[in-house]
């Protein structure tokens, strides 16, 4: 396994909520990434964001790991939840909050909505 793939795998496994997106939460570069981020924030999720744009290998390695072809991709406790459409649908039905609570415990809500950003190339 490449070093980059291992780093991505660690983010997926270790972060409560990992969002692989185009751009950063402060400067989102794609409508679908924006939709996923908004739905997660509204559910109070403690988001850890990874920008896939700096290097095409990030997306290649991520999709090889997840088997999911498109960006964004959302993981909760290592489990692939889906892309923007799924996250929005789950948020609308209340299933997203239920999933977060089930996986992360009832006190999952993030105190600070800004979340954190991980650079998988620097790791």
């Amino acid at each position: 396994m490449s070093e980059l793939r291992e780093t991505i795998q660690q983010v997926i496994e270790n972060e409560p909520v990992a969002l692989f997106m185009k751009g950063k939460p402060q400067f989102v570069m794609c409508g679908n990434s924006e939709r996923a981020l908004r739905a997660l924030r509204e559910a109070g999720a403690p988001v850890t964001a990874v920008d896939i744009l700096p290097d095409p290998r990030i997306r290649q390695e991520l999709s090889a790991l997840s088997g999911w072809p498109t960006i964004p991709q959302v993981f909760v406790s290592g489990e692939l939840i889906g892309g923007a459409d799924i996250v929005e649908e789950l948020a609308a039905s209340g299933d997203l909050e239920r999933k977060l609570e089930e996986k992360l415990g009832p006190a999952y809500r993030s105190e600070d909505g800004s979340g954190r950003v991980v650079d998988v190339l620097a790791a």
Partner: protein
């Protein structure tokens, strides 16, 4: 064949029994698509697995850049 026709053809092949199948060009630019599929194949499947079937049907245009952005809406028939 235009992108929209190619997507429709691939989805029709993958979901021949679809009760509803629609492909829309969201921006008019020919690479941002909204696909809607209602099929009995989705019955009993989690949303993730429903979308996975659509992604698999569209694997080629997703890979070769025909699709820049994809929105998916799936429903079972039950």
């Amino acid at each position: 064949m235009s992108g929209i026709d190619r997507l429709r053809q691939l989805l029709e092949q993958a979901f021949p029994d679809a009760a509803e199948l629609d492909v829309a060009d969201r921006t008019g630019g020919g690479d941002h698509f909204q696909v809607t599929v209602t099929s009995p194949r989705f019955n009993g499947l989690a949303l993730l697995d429903q979308h996975r079937l659509v992604n698999e049907a569209l694997a080629d245009p997703l890979r070769d850049g025909t699709i820049h952005e994809l929105r998916i809406k799936t429903r079972g028939t039950e």
